[in-house]
Amino acid sequence: MRNWLGQLYQSVFGRMLLLVVIPTLLIFAIIILLGTLATFDGLRQAAEERLRIEVSLNAARLEDKLERALLSAQRMAEAQVAGMFGDRKASLELARLALQNSPEFTGCYFGYEPNADQQDAASLGKLPAEAMDEKGRFIPYWFVVPDGGRTIKLEPLVNMETSLYYQGAKTAFNSTHKAAPMVTEPYVYQDKLIVEQVYPIVIDGKFMGVAGLDFALADVETELRRTAERDQIDLFLISSRGRFIAATTDPHGEEAVDTEGQLMTQEVADSQYADLFEDLLGVRKTPRLKCEADPVDGDRYYFAAASIPAGGWTIVLREPEAEILGPIKRQLAYRMSSGLAGLAAIVGLLLVMTYRLGRRVRVAAQAAERVARGDLTEEITPGKVHDETGALLSSIHRMTVNLNNLVGQVKQSSVQLNSTATELAATSRQQEASVSTFGASTNQIAAATKEISATSSELVQTMQEVHDEAVHTDRLATSGRQGLQEMESNVRGLEQATSSIGDKLAVIHHKANNITGVVTTITKVADQTNLLSVNAAIEAEKAGEYGVGFLVVSREIRRLADQTAAATLDIEQMVQQMQAAVSEGVMEMDRFADKVRRSVQGVEEISRQMEEIIERVRANTERFERVNESMQSQAQGAGQISSAMAQLTESASQTTESISEYCHAANDLREAIAALQSSIAIFQLRT
């Protein structure tokens, strides 16, 4: 179990479940439970308060009726005190009017003490006998005949000395000497349960009689039943001495034939409610409430009791507990079920969200784990969710791609670095060798500079000799230049003669061309002559005998023409040979003239070069002196170079050490690259 919890706690889903979902579930459940309980308590208190108010209202209503009756009795008594006492006619009329105008009353009466107004004897026979006793004591009692109407009848009071309504009032006044209203216990009079409201007539501090009203409780019961039926409750009215005045649980109307078991007029102490009502009775300022099982039917009821101080009565309201708590419980059940449904929905959403979150975090964690192992081959799909987990997956995706590129570049770079380091090491070794060679060379150079210094001294001497030779050369060159100038003039003369010969040859060539033209003409003439002679011979032959002579002539002409043609042929050949010879001569002359011209140019060039040589030789004479001075400076410079070379040798040895360190650094670099390659070798890349 502990292992399972530990594994669960290791996952995001488990942690969310343990730290969020289950606590949320518990907290909300407790809140709902406590809220329901508090609501239930509040509603129950409200219902109880309603019961209290309701019972108080009913009590107040009854109190009002009693108060009004008592007030009427008090007014009648005060009227007697005010002057009516003794005026029996007026008193009799007052009582009749009071009863007639007040439908809630069933009787109205005065009761004087015997001969209190000193008119008992005088009144006999003057007033109706029903208003007095046989001694003339004024005790008129107006009452409503119980026939359903409002017929009023007069009778004398009875049982005055034994009943509560008179003797009780008198006893109370005598004990307190204070006029106070009094309500009697209910009793049955003429088949009606009534109570009486009595007020004492006190004149000069002496009890003179009472004024009273009968209050029919049947009306009270009817009203109580109406109220009970309207509010679906039961009401019990209990007198100050613990007797049931009215109970809505009693049978009513036609059912009331069987009066057995009914509570009205029964003592509470004798009934089944004795224990239940024990602490509810009595005059108290605030209503009392209790919820217990009814001893009659066994169901649980709420019992609310309120006092009616005017008569010392108590009214008890009974309502079934199910009627009060049922709606409350139903409402609470509805609330609780809806709350639990909401809670279940929240928990469900939390679970779904947690599961999805956990799954996405798990994907991210697995991807990160693969990256940590160096496996960069797998590609992560960021998904379509754009919350923080989506951003995390997207970031890991980008990180993987970037790492892929980075590690690939690092691998390539390390390979390149490795080759570079190898090249560096090789280069440093080459440099080391070069510096060693350089050191040897500097030593050689130092030796060479010493030789240069010695050689410079010899050179100074040699330069002097060279100077002397240059002066001699200058003289010889001057002489040579004069000879060249003569030769140049001779060659120019030759060039002119050559040009003249060329011109003459051109004339000969032209003449030869003319001869050729003449020969051509002669040839044409010979040819025409030949043709003419042939035609002449033909014509002569056609002439027959006459043309014989002309035939001979034509033959001779043809022979001459043939000889002419042969001679012109010879001339033509000779002219052609001559023309060829002249052309060759012209070409030869041209070549010769060209050579002569080049000779002239060569002579001029030689002359110019000789001039330049002379100038150079003269200039060299001065330079040789400067060179001599420079050679001496050079000898000194060679000494300085020698010392500089010593410093250079020392620098070369220092450079050797530096290169050695550089070589070590290159090796370290190569080892570091190898370590880097072994470090990144764990990464597997996408191809």
Binding site: D527, L531, V534, I538, E541, K542, R558
Partner: protein, 152 residues
């Protein structure tokens, strides 16, 4: 004895009867005729008349006559039209050697030294060990029937 005009063609000597030779003229440019035999040179202007000219060297089966200054055209009569202007034909030869009297009556020289298709070659004579073949202009081949008189 027959008076002939001797000419040289392809190294051999041919004789034209002087009676049939109207005139010997230098070589002139001929107006070529298409769709004719190769030995037909074309028309030439002979003193205001258009006459047909033949290359005798080609007619004999040799190559074209080598152009030289000594080339001649023999204007010969090729038709028997007495009383009217006779038909004339120009025959191009390499050179004209002259005019001589030749005897073609020797029996040894009567043998016909030419095939029947070349009927214009007739008798042959020997003179100084050189053969001379007589040409009959009337039997020269005609490439087509030419008009009787064509004037420029």
């Amino acid at each position: 004895m027959l008076h002939v005009v001797l000419s040289r063609v392809a190294g051999r000597v041919y004789a034209f009867p002087s009676s049939r030779v109207v005139e010997v003229i230098p070589r002139v440019m001929a107006q070529a005729l298409p769709q004719t035999a190769d030995w037909v040179l074309g028309w030439i202007n002979y003193r205001g008349r258009l006459i047909l000219a033949l290359d005798f060297s080609r007619l004999l089966g040799h190559g074209a006559c080598t152009p030289r200054m000594a080339n001649r055209i023999l204007v010969v009569q090729t038709g028997e039209t007495a009383g009217k202007a006779s038909a004339l034909t120009g025959v191009l030869v390499e050179a004209v050697l002259g005019s001589e009297l030749f005897d073609f009556g020797d029996s040894t020289a009567h043998a016909r030294l030419a095939p029947p298709t070349a009927s214009f070659l007739t008798d042959v004579s020997l003179a100084d060990s050189e053969m001379v073949q007589l040409v009959d202009p009337l039997k020269l081949p005609r490439p087509f029937a030419e008009p009787e008189d064509v004037s420029c």
